[in-house]
Amino acid sequence: MKKNRITLGHGGGGKLMHDLVEQFFVKKLSNPILDRLDDHATLEMGNCRLAFSTDSYVVNPIFFQGGDIGKLAICGTVNDVAMSGAIPKYLSAAFVIEEGLLMTDLEKVLDSMVKAAEEAGVQIVTGDTKVVEIGGADKLFINTAGVGAIPEGVNISGSNAKVGDKVILSGSIGDHGIAVISEREGLQFKTIVQSDCAPLNHLVADMLNVCPDIRALRDPTRGGLSSTLNEFATQSKVGISLEEDKIPIKEGVLGACEMLGYDPFHVANEGKLVAVVPPHKSEAILEAMRKNKYGKDSQIIGNVVDEPKGKVVVNTAVGATRILDMLIGEQLPRIC
């Protein structure tokens, strides 16, 4: 009898990881808050609703075009908190450092954390440091957790999408995944792709100003756009219909994906969000998003439909339709 083991695919943000989360973590640790399976937990404390989220960052290499592990560790957690509609306020940061890391590299990472935290308007208020022997970690792993208060009247969840709603994407997909893989593998493409790593909390605030009734918000990180949309479709028990030609993809990303055999829908983003919004507010939200520098290329990319429930359907350029599945295992290992 073969023993099942964890593979890199279990960390890829796709179907394997979802199965692992459901069959192990949720099964063992189940409670009503965790079981909602949003990227954040919503906590009721007195009269206040808090959003709480945590994430670990293990990207290889730790410096890449458009960012580094420090910027990622701040933006990733800020974004997870912000996707609840909350205003992120305080972060923790824990470091697992491999013996031999250059002090100057650590300093660069910290400087970039400070800069990203300033832009996001959050403070790092508690932390932890561990050092492990060579081979016990790869240079530097960072865990951050964050909290923020959810404004009254805001109720955002992947399970709130309704038939007729519009789906908005805040810009081009695949930039982060391709930037990291190019850096790591030393792939030289004609166009240098920069990671889109950015804090999106101010963009979310701009959207909520126009429409507090946003149904669902998520940042499509590992597993890419397809994982996020499939999660919405499953959680809300609806279908999602996409127009392929409305989805912005940079030529550099498209070219790299063609060469590597990746599907841009599966490639990670670190500075994009997908929103499901009420149809009558979609144009106003889009306009507000396009005024923010992190949402200037926003597009309405599709609709929430009744059928097929739990599935995402793409209308292709030749006038056909196809199912958009979640990534199964890993596409790009250790990209965040």
């Binding site: 030529e251 292709t316 350029a317 056909a320 196809r322 199912i323």
Partner: protein, 361 residues
């Protein structure tokens, strides 16, 4: 000209589809013999917009899928012999008789995914006290890069690098398929990347001896639609000639420099294809001059007896184009990309994986 978005234009796609419908009268079975085409056709949904009389079949175009079980068993035996075994990522999950490279990796066998042969060569340079083997799986597209790695290793005096070569070439496989006589084919959608290396001349025998039209195609939706139009036109006009649709990359004579490199390092040999068997002259083996880089000669490994394909798996028939993936009793039920049984469901360019992943809504 950016070469990608222009070839995905919905308005032009509609016009081309309409033109195909207007000229196509006869029953027309077309086969693509390139995994990238299989994926592109499924992904854009071209089958859905074809008239009923046109059927698109997939042939043995995925190098991962056509790799025989016995070759995989040997690769795993070499990997377990203490070397650093490097491979393109696609091979990791393909089930062999007993396990897969991916499974072996999780229990500590030193198997590393690389993006090019030069990465493997770099690993060899960085680990002078270890043997580094590259698993050379592929068609003419990647063969020149394998050849370069051996020439580079020679030039740089890297002695701990070798390749386990199960490379294959496409034209003999097409002949073997036709000689099996199982297919009623009206046209071949010839591979674009392979033809960028070998040119379109090597397909001449298909039109001369078998009177079947051939068009070398690009990979974007408009490329494929135009190719289908060109093939249908030949069929309706009663012609059989070799044409190139993918002119921005392919010439009749191909890339001479790449061909010379291949020729310097490799010679043709018989090779086993999954689903088809041994095809004469369809493989590439390392020439005597470079045999010190041939892992098969360097490592004398015990290979356990090869097991036949799992019961019920139709990969063989699917690779020969006589069954569609959904004709297989395991497809989408017992065999899915999460729990693949046959290689066609494993590889990202596999026919079953493409049909499953991009199934019709």
């Amino acid at each position: 000209m950016k070469y990608l978005s222009e070839f995905r234009d919905p308005v032009l796609a509609k016009k081309l589809t309409q033109s195909i419908k207007e000229i196509s009268r006869r029953k027309t079975n077309l086969m693509e013999v390139c995994g990238t085409h299989t994926v592109a056709i499924s992904k854009s949904g071209i089958r859905q917009v074809m008239p009923e009389n046109i059927t698109l079949l997939s042939g043995p175009g995925c190098p991962v899928c056509v790799t025989a079980n016995s070759d995989l068993d040997k690769a795993i035996a070499i990997a377990k012999s203490g070397v650093i075994f490097t491979t393109f990522g696609d091979m990791l999950k393909v089930p062999s008789s007993y396990s897969s490279l991916g499974e072996e990796k999780t229990v500590g066998v030193d198997i590393r995914v690389v993006y090019s042969t030069l990465d493997a060569l770099k690993i060899a340079e960085e680990n002078p006290d270890r043997d580094v083997v590259f698993y050379a799986v592929g068609f003419e597209t990647t063969a020149p890069t394998i050849a370069i790695s051996l020439m580079e290793a020679e030039r740089r005096g890297i002695k701990n690098y070798s390749i386990y070569c199960v490379h294959k070439i496409v034209p003999p496989a097409i002949r073997a398929l036709l000689d099996l006589g199982e297919l009623g084919l009206e046209g071949f959608i010839c591979p674009g990347h392979v033809s960028a290396i070998i040119g379109s001349d090597p397909y001449q025998f298909i039109t001369d001896e078998y009177q079947i039209p051939c068009v070398v195609a690009g990979f974007e939706p408009l490329d494929i639609l135009q190719t289908i139009y060109m093939l249908v036109k030949q069929v309706e006009d009663g012609e059989a000639k070799v044409e190139i649709q993918y002119k921005r990359s392919v010439s009749p004579e191909g890339n001479k420099i790449a061909q010379e490199m291949m020729d310097k390092v490799f010679e043709t040999a018989d090779a086993e294809w999954r689903g088809i068997g041994i095809i004469p002259g369809s493989g590439l083996k390392v020439r005597e001059d470079y045999s010190h880089f041939d892992a098969e000669k360097r490592f004398d490994v015990d290979v356990p007896p090869t097991k036949p394909d799992p019961p019920g798996c139709s990969c063989g028939e699917i690779l020969r184009g006589i069954k569609f993936p959904y004709d297989c009793q395991l497809f989408g039920q017992a065999c899915t990309p999460e729990r693949p049984i046959g290689p066609c469901m494993v590889s990202s360019e596999g026919c079953c994986a493409a049909y499953y992943r991009y199934r019709r809504a």
